[in-house]
Subunit: 188 residues, 2 copies
């Protein structure tokens, strides 16, 4: 087993600059912003970008690392929350907001769950898994008005995020509330 080598200083610096420019570009233009433009603004050749991030999704995945950690921390917290119905609703809202970070991200996530080669696959599976468990808790507590699957939940989160990308976060939230109103039994 090879010891981990420390990367060269210029490599580290280039990586950081690429990430910073990619974040700015993705925020402004969405996840299909020009990679060539990102490399140019970072002051490196395009080959350098590919050296650090072999695919667009690898770049996206690196950009989402911290954000993902925060989301999953929140998920674990909700799994321990006392009211399963409220926890489920909060989770769907949280993922919806997460998936609207960049225009185009919702599409990448929707694809990532089925595509094992996607650098986003693992995080998608984890999002779906937390959703499954929160759904199961709500079902066990008799909080469901009708049955639904984890796939329904994942589809809702991505679809609402997609709506949010091109209308407003408020509209996305209203869509989630509408669907959750169909899923959850009214409080007695």
């Amino acid at each position: 087993m090879a010891a981990a080598r420390r990367p060269r200083a210029d490599a580290l610096r280039n990586r950081d600059r690429l990430l910073a420019e990619a974040d700015a570009a993705f925020r402004e233009k969405g996840t299909d912003a020009s990679l060539e433009g990102i490399a140019r603004r970072a002051g490196v050749a395009t080959g350098t970008l590919y050296g650090h991030f072999p695919t667009r999704r690898a770049l996206l995945g690196a950009l989402l690392r911290d954000r993902n950690a925060e989301l999953f921390r929140r998920g674990e917290e909700l799994l321990a929350a006392p009211d399963p119905a409220a926890a489920l609703t909060a989770w769907v809202h949280a993922v919806t907001e997460h998936a609207a970070a960049y225009q185009g991200l919702a599409a990448e996530l929707a694809e990532g769950i089925d595509d094992e080669a996607s650098e986003l696959h693992e995080s998608c599976v984890r999002m779906a898994d937390i959703g499954d468990r929160l759904l199961e808790n709500a079902r066990a507590a008799g909080a469901l008005r009708r049955d639904a699957t984890g796939a329904d939940l994942f589809a809702l989160m991505n679809a609402a995020a997609w709506t949010g990308e091109r209308t407003s976060p408020e509209q996305a939230g209203r869509l989630v509330d509408l669907a959750m109103g169909g899923l959850l039994a009214p409080p007695c």
Copy 2:
């Protein structure tokens, strides 16, 4: 007022070939399929494509003409239907299926409602208008569990269509049913 001239025979033929190839390309690759490829397969120069259809959306709009007519005919039928709740649900399903005709169409429609310059604007407005009226009917009949706006409805239809594009029509339908379950009062 100028009399309508009959177009030249070769122009008509080129237009038809372009539409046929565009339909095939959009079905296969989605609405952002290469225009150059469409022109090539239709056997015309790219300038000819632009002569007939100045924008990608103009091409898309021409392709949707018949499909739109059928959709709106269905809408008028539903406006005259006896059960307002069932009519509303049927309309949302119908538009959702319509908007999934080509991958990428849901995004064009979501954009078209706000963009007056879009060649799809008029049909988007008409879809939203029929939705508004069906919603109003359902409200008047006391069939709503909670309030919702025409914008909510339009967002739902596009979001569900977007889901359908990348999962399955069944999943799109399940999403619609979930949201409609939140909107409509249960039958007593």
